[in-house]
Symmetry: C2
Subunit: 335 residues, 2 copies
DNA sequence: CTGAAAGCGCTTACAG
DNA sequence: CTGAAAGCGCTTACAG
């Protein structure tokens, strides 16, 4: 490996000067600039970012805490995030916190990340967060007082969809949540469904709401399982809100296996508009927002905060719109 | 940030000794071990992995070159890879090479990765590869002479499936490839289809084979597009092999939109068995292999090679098995 | 404007 | 077995 010293030597300048031409921080006599560039070219010199990091005490490294990599929703958000980050010389690495988490908390801390985005649904240990804070790591989706908090505002499209189902004559409308009971009520979607369903004339029974109780399950499995419970408890259900598209896929599978049909027997609505939703049969109605742009926005906030500690933590709110597709239709009892 | 020096000071030993107890490389008097551990505990000391990397000239960092993050196939493989890697103290970061690639090649080189896995379908520039080699980066899926090469052996399940379609009375069988003409023939699946279809009595016309010609498209879009071409050219087709499950989803969508039905009009077979395939309507028949385990195996080979340069580059071959589901059935003309 | 030098937080021969 | 010290490849005040 050729180092900066060799470049300096060949260019006949000091290492500091080489740094200055590479980082364009200070003015360097054009003649030297040329010499240095030539030396870099000839030696095929590639700077060592890790050494740079140590000296600058900044890594240009953003971490993402995830439970599973196979959720296309996160994949799209991360893709947008990593794209923006890359344009600003940051790399982003994902940490799977599905097992052996204590060790992984350590690993994350040791890497001295500049920022960590939390996409887990369960809580992370307090001392882990404290260590991160003491390292000045910029946090996303931890406690509001010391991190950015990303909020999806589904209220408009949720209401729009509820109105539509009402107009279609549905009254036995269920809700399947991939998060547990407590969180479900805090989640905007759940809250709106709970508080507004009476207004739309929906049946307000408790047994139309099902929450996940097993953290190890993937969303599609959750949807499948919860829909099974729903059908056995309330065979009169005619429409289902699902907390995300994967839950909806699981529910649709269960509906098919039960010998029923979506949408003619049961309408299904998902959330997040992952790319494959439009490819399903029937295509999935869902609440959509620009996930790539959202990811890029998160990255932007993070980088601003890293490069200017003064910039405040705030909420990042994203709106959504209803994407109407074949998975919902008029209530069968209305025809 | 508390450093190793402070720990040493509080424990009344030298930094070297602290290193020795942390890394367990040399025997340290038990009394000192205790003191050091106590100091670490009290000071809440977390080692700096980047500094360690610089000194050891090894990063414990594996990179993955990807075109898109939303392909669930790669997601699963990467998940297995990252899990194994994490257990061995490596982190893995993905680099999206979908745009601005020159800059990203630089970034990758600057990070001094210990290994890079190539999941791109197009070629990477020679000088990029050369730089990586000069850095001793362990390569996967580059040229066979200087990298591991991962091969999926679909031949058994491919033949099994061809036999089944034959038994079901299909003769107008198409193949949709998400990679271009040249690569398609080199790919095992394509090769087998091409060379064996006569044996199974399939129609051997060229216009039953369609290859992708647009690198910017995602697999599901490719399947949708190619299936459109296929249907307009050969409305008599009764079965379709798709190069992967996403291509199959695209094809199925097109079939539905054309007013046809899968499988009663056209049987569809995918490849890779991504998790959502079983959730489709109809559930997708596909060629399956354990992607997590496969990813873990790649990680294992990589780490062996990093930690023992002598260990040779070899081929990593994975077998597959047919996963029979609802998307294929008897040829409609046979009933 | 440029060079010499200290420093970033570790590891690792090398003496003792 | 342990400590002092050089070194990893950069950055960045500080003189000049």
């Amino acid at each position: 490996m050729v180092t900066r010293a060799e470049v300096a030597c060949r260019a006949g300048v000091s290492v500091g000067t080489v740094s200055n031409v590479i980082n364009k921080k200070a003015f360097v006599k054009p003649e030297y600039v040329q010499k240095v560039k030539k030396a870099i070219e000839e030696l095929n010199y590639v700077p060592d970012f890790n050494a740079k990091s140590l000296a600058r005490r900044r890594n240009n490294h953003i971490g993402i805490a995830l439970f599973e990599m196979t959720n296309p929703y996160h994949a799209e958000v991360i893709q947008g995030l990593e794209k923006y980050a890359a344009e600003h010389d940051y790399i982003v690495t994902t940490f799977l916190l599905d097992n052996n988490t204590d060790k992984k908390y350590e690993v994350i801390c040791e890497r001295r990340l500049d920022a960590l985005v939390n996409f887990m649904t369960n809580d992370l240990p307090r001392n882990f967060i404290e260590t991160l804070k003491s390292q000045q790591t910029v946090l996303v989706n931890f406690n509001p007082q010391d991190s950015f908090v990303v909020m999806n505002d589904y209220s408009q499209s949720m209401l729009e969809c509820m109105r539509l189902l009402h107009d279609y004559g549905h009254t036995k409308v269920a809700y399947l949540s991939s998060i547990d009971d407590m969180r479900y009520k805090a989640d905007k979607r759940g809250e709106i469904f709970l508080t507004k369903r009476a207004e739309f004339g929906f049946d307000c029974s408790d047994d139309l709401v099902f929450c996940n109780d097993d953290y190890m399950l993937h969303s599609e499995e959750i949807g499948y399982k919860l829909c099974g419970r729903l059908l056995s408890r309330r065979s009169d259900v005619t429409a289902i809100f699902c907390m995300n598209d994967l839950v909806a896929f699981g529910a649709m599978r269960k509906i098919n296996e039960a010998g029923l049909s979506c949408p003619s027997d049961i309408s299904v609505v998902g959330c997040d508009d992952i790319a494959l939703g439009a490819y399903f049969n029937p295509p999935l109605t869902t609440m959509s927002f620009d996930k790539m742009k959202h990811g890029a926005n998160i990255a932007k906030k993070i980088i601003e905060k890293i490069e200017n500690t003064e910039s405040p933590y705030e909420r990042i709110i994203v709106g959504s719109e209803l994407r109407l597709r074949g998975s919902i239709t008029k209530c069968r009892y209305e025809r």
